[in-house]
């Protein structure tokens, strides 16, 4: 069981957050048993879907990305060597899947995913009628994509700034500045 304990700090590391470890099902899935993979899916889908939903900010897309993440996990299971908790490994894979999708999206619509365009952070992308009260999930979904990514990874998922900056391909200072803007926009939307 020790091989499946988390080595990551922060929220990922607390045992209570992990679905029950599945060494047996995991081993069978790793050897190519789709039925066993179904059990792995059942144990982890809520967690994977949550991070896809918050990063993507769109329910339909989040469903598609969740499916894509599990297919990718199935393909890469042979390379999972149990060095980190499976949940953490899968979480990283899901985050990568969403970020890749956001990057591809930004290439299609240059404007949406600027690296350092601060103006993009001044106004939420989705139009929120003034005076509308939103809950935090909706407010997160309304953030510009990159500010949303930084906020979700840092404040919700507990990633360190350095990891976030690396994943997004921006400087650490940029990631911090975007986090500040994301928090500012959120509290303003929620007020």
């Amino acid at each position: 069981m020790a091989a499946f304990e988390s080595t990551l700090p922060g929220p990922l590391g607390s045992a209570a957050d992990h679905p029950p470890a599945l060494p047996a099902a995991l081993a069978r899935a790793r050897a190519g048993d789709p039925q066993a993979f179904r059990a792995v899916y059942d144990a982890h889908v809520g967690r994977v879907h949550a991070v896809c939903l918050r990063l993507a900010g769109d329910a339909r897309r989040a469903e598609e990305l969740t499916q894509r993440a599990f297919v990718a996990a199935w393909q890469r299971l042979p390379s999972f060597r149990g060095e980190s908790a499976f949940g953490s490994w899968l979480h990283r894979l899901a985050v990568n899947t969403v970020l890749q999708d956001l990057r591809a999206e930004s290439r299609r619509h240059r404007r949406v995913f600027p690296t350092d365009d601060l103006a993009a952070f001044e106004a939420p992308v989705s139009a929120v009628p003034p005076g509308t009260r939103l809950d935090l999930e909706q407010a997160i979904a309304a953030l510009p994509p990159q500010a949303r990514a930084v906020f979700v990874l840092h404040d919700v998922e507990g990633w360190p700034h350095a990891d976030i900056a690396r994943e997004l391909g921006v400087a650490v200072g940029t990631a911090k500045a975007q986090l500040h803007r994301a928090r500012h926009l959120l509290q303003e939307t929620l007020r």
Partner: protein, 361 residues
Amino acid sequence: MNCHRWLDARAAYADGTLAGAARADFETHLVGCAACRADLAGLRALPDLTRALPRAVAPARDLWAGIASQLEAQRADLADSPAIDWPWRRFAPWALAAGIVVLSSVAARRADPAWSVAPLQGVPEVDRAAVVAPAGFRPGQWLATDASSRARIAVGRIGEAELGPGSRVRLRGVSGRNHRLELARGSLRAVIWAPPRLFFVDTPAATAVDLGCAYTLEVDDRGDGELAVTLGYVALAEGDRESLVPAGARCRMRRGHGPGTPFADDAPAALRAALAEFDFVAVPPNGTVGRILAAARPADAVTLWHLLGRTAGAERAAVCDALARTHPLPPGSTRDGILAGDIEPRRAWAESIGLGNFSSR
């Protein structure tokens, strides 16, 4: 109402991380700025709201069916694919891995497979330029790690490789059927999901030919090295000499000699020692083959089978008889055929042992 000039200071102040003169400046501003005070109240409420978010959110509809159909499609592709030399279907666990390979190769055809490098630890270098974020990796470029760095190489869309500390690897070429790295020194772990014989790693002693697998290659400063396979098969080739290394086995290689004879991960020390002499000493001492056979267990069939193609006369007969004691010859294959050096019976024997349908040269 917004007060953008103080955005970063406000966030740091709310966090309790603003200090010294910057803190004093902000406090001076704060007492006169209602916008900042309102923002600050909102910022301070945010962590509690964030902590209250559920860690897991079940999707509104069942997503498994869509996932299962993709896994199923991969298996269907496998069934339609032409027979290959390697008996994938015999190995239930690999049958699906091979199916994934089909899907990935479709993807590889769809888009130009770009190679890239990402740092995993420390600061690797591509052509002496630091790699701090994922970057392209082009033919001719060298990727180097020092004692405290590691890097991940995305092998187009066909797989990925991790370069260990103290290593140097060059991207030699990329074309439809030829993805080739040169590992000059250090360690490389590759996980490849492409069809067999698309991915090659040259080392000073031999070339590793991927047959759909996961493996680690290590090369020392002299250019000698060792291959360890954890999934599928790898062919280790140099000149007319080829060793086929299945999962759970490893194979040494020496510069000037090429690949040695594969042996099981847990092979007895006496077998390994005798094998080193057999493989790499110009004139092995008398009785070397005898010592290998004396140390061999049933699980060392991979070694004995390779020796069939590397011995002659009485030695080959002794190897054949030793292997036959634990793994009987399959129907249609005869001892005489094996001793005559015929390829077909040897290939059939490998298949019946479960080593794969391959021929050794």
